[in-house]
């Protein structure tokens, strides 16, 4: 995803002279081309995310469109108050990019996990929170973000995420994207975990369970129209995200479900990370497995729920 980001931001900056890229001393060599082409519009802000966010606010106040780039954990929690006060309070068009979202950097330790970022940022007024599933969707999300009149957070993976979409989808803030049509249940996948959802889908199909699958990148605002449709249509709706089960997308959908009266809503299953620290060495797949979010584990949990509902 990060190579797609570097490529796409270069293209966008070619067309839009107001785009400025700020890096928190991250992305070694990644932005060489951007720097060569737009030396005045690339600023390495050092390992100082609070200042970088404030600087972005100042740039945006004068009509520029800054994009800040750092590791997801650092570009969110580390500068949370600057996001809240400088960006959200002023409602400024700044795009915050978090690279290595979720458990992408599993083995680097909890310091590098971004498993509370979506929930933390969606609390703030004026904030838009996006979590694209692959490099194609990231390009769409980035295009939408730099033309949006307010702060946007985009959580990326790092590299090598499997492609879900063929080409850049028709991305819009507040809209889910259909990946596959099915009849029995609905699964909403948030971010790169969608590749595991598709593995689960293969196993569900073997059991004769047909799933409608959506990529659900807009954590805030939610695609309420889509939610209304799928909760009315399916006896079971499942959300899957690489984020703590507290406060994330599943929680946002649950809040929506409680606040919205649907006379015949389907059951809702939230699959997310447990409320615990992952504190071992290992890669992203190992971490997902340890915390219950591989394709097989997603399949097992969905199947168990289907059996309960079918009784």
């Amino acid at each position: 995803m990060r190579n797609a980001f570097a490529d796409e931001i270069g293209k966008l900056a070619t067309d839009d002279k107001d785009i400025v890229l700020l890096s928190g001393d991250i992305g070694n060599r990644l932005f060489d081309k951007f720097q060569q082409k737009f030396s005045q519009r690339f600023v390495n802000c050092g390992v100082a995310e609070a200042n970088m966010t404030g600087v972005a606010a100042g740039l945006a106040m004068t009509g520029l469109k800054p994009v800040t780039y750092s590791i997801a954990a650092f570009n969110t929690h580390r500068c949370l108050e600057q996001i809240r006060v400088d960006l959200c309070y002023h409602n400024l068009p700044v795009t915050i990019i978090g690279v290595g979202g979720g458990l992408s950097y599993a083995g680097l330790g909890y310091t590098h996990h971004a498993s509370e970022d979506l929930g933390a940022l969606r609390l703030f007024p004026n904030m838009t929170v996006l979590c694209p599933c692959d490099a194609n969707e990231l390009r769409g999300a980035l295009r939408a973000a730099v033309t949006h009149h307010g702060p946007v957070y985009i959580r990326m993976g790092k590299k090598g995420e499997p492609d879900i979409h063929h080409g850049v989808p028709d991305f819009a803030i507040g809209k889910g994207l259909k990946v596959k049509e099915g009849d029995d249940i609905c699964i909403l996948g948030v971010g790169s975990i969608l590749s595991e959802v598709l593995k689960a889908d293969t196993l569900l199909t073997e059991q004769g369970i047909s799933s409608s699958i959506y990529s659900f990148p807009s954590v805030k605002p939610l695609d309420e129209e889509l939610l209304q449709k799928v909760f009315n249509r399916f006896p079971l709706v499942v959300s899957v995200e690489e984020h703590t089960r507290l406060g994330g997308t599943g929680a946002a959908i649950a809040e929506w479900l409680v606040d919205t009266y649907l006379s015949n809503a389907g059951a809702f299953l939230r699959l997310a990370l447990p409320d615990k620290v992952f504190n071992e060495g290992g890669d992203q797949y190992y971490a997902r497995e340890s915390l219950g979010l591989t394709g097989k584990q997603i399949f097992d949990k969905i199947l168990a729920k289907v059996k309960i509902i079918s009784k």
Partner: protein, 274 residues
């Protein structure tokens, strides 16, 4: 540099001080000592130091002032009103329900307010961004961030200090209202602020130290021309907290105390006001 004599400016400062004391009383709002210590800084900035025009507060080439010590908003509101940015009658609504003059300035709440502040350590990074944007776009405006010795406790101040020097953001100026106090004690004791000027110099800033309650010294300091040595500019303005009112001067109780009606009258008499 300025269309007013020093005597006239001192008279304006006295009126603003009287207004600030009344606002604190009427609005039942604290931080009087902090507001009083920076009145002369604001007068010197708005009455000659900065390139501003109250009739055109959105001019893209204007100089910007950010009150990063947002808790001194009373002084900022009074200064902007007296300078003609908005109707001085609005000052009577300060801290009232539904007023646009909250205890800390909100975003775009009034003409002349460049940034919402209130949480310390935000104004300098924002100011650095505005100044950097000016450099990127070839505009010649300057950005003045009014900070305080207490605010220098915040790490983001020093992130911004290092950043601005590294990137030669020489159209950025910080003025530290160095009144020696923060909320609950002496700044030197709480976070070892001294020697403050040396810290800014060590961070790569052109630094001077002046008496921040002397308007002529302030106006002289604001004459700095950015770009001569590519360094951002720091003014350590040594001030007296509660300046101008004898029974408030250097008494940190006035960080939180609200004056009584009698004290308001007493203060105004001392300031030579009705």
């Amino acid at each position: 540099m300025t269309d007013w004599t020093i005597n006239e400016l001192e008279r304006i400062a006295a009126k603003i001080r009287g207004e600030v004391v009344s606002m604190s009383y009427r609005g039942k709002a604290p931080h009087l000592g902090s507001a009083l210590s920076c009145v002369d800084i604001l007068v010197a900035a708005y009455w000659g130091g900065l390139n501003i025009d109250p009739q055109h507060p959105g001019n893209p080439d204007r100089d910007r002032l950010i009150l990063s010590k947002g808790h001194a908003a009373q002084a900022l509101y009074a200064a902007l009103a007296y300078r003609g940015f908005f109707d001085a009658d609005l000052l009577a609504t300060y801290n009232q329900n539904g007023s646009c003059l909250a205890e800390h300035p909100g975003p775009r709440c009034l003409p002349g307010i460049e940034a919402a502040t209130g949480s310390l350590g935000h104004g300098l990074p924002i100011g650095a961004g505005i100044a950097l944007s000016g450099q990127m776009r070839g505009r010649s405006y300057r950005v003045l961030v009014v900070s305080s010795d207490g605010e220098c406790n915040e790490g983001s101040m020093w992130e911004a200090a290092a950043f601005a020097a590294a990137h030669s953001i020489c159209n950025l100026c910080v003025i530290v209202d160095n009144n020696g106090w923060q909320a609950t004690g002496r700044s030197a004791d709480i976070m070892g602020n001294s020697p403050l000027a040396d810290k800014w110099t060590a961070f790569g800033w052109e630094t001077i130290e002046i008496n921040g309650n002397e308007i002529d010294q302030l106006i002289e300091a604001f004459k700095y021309k950015p770009g001569t040595d590519d360094k951002p500019f720091a003014i350590i303005a040594n001030t007296v907290k509660g300046k101008g009112i004898s029974f408030m001067e250097d008494d940190n109780n006035w960080h939180y105390r609200i004056p009584t009606q009698e004290e308001v009258l007493l203060a105004k008499r001392e300031l030579g006001l009705k």
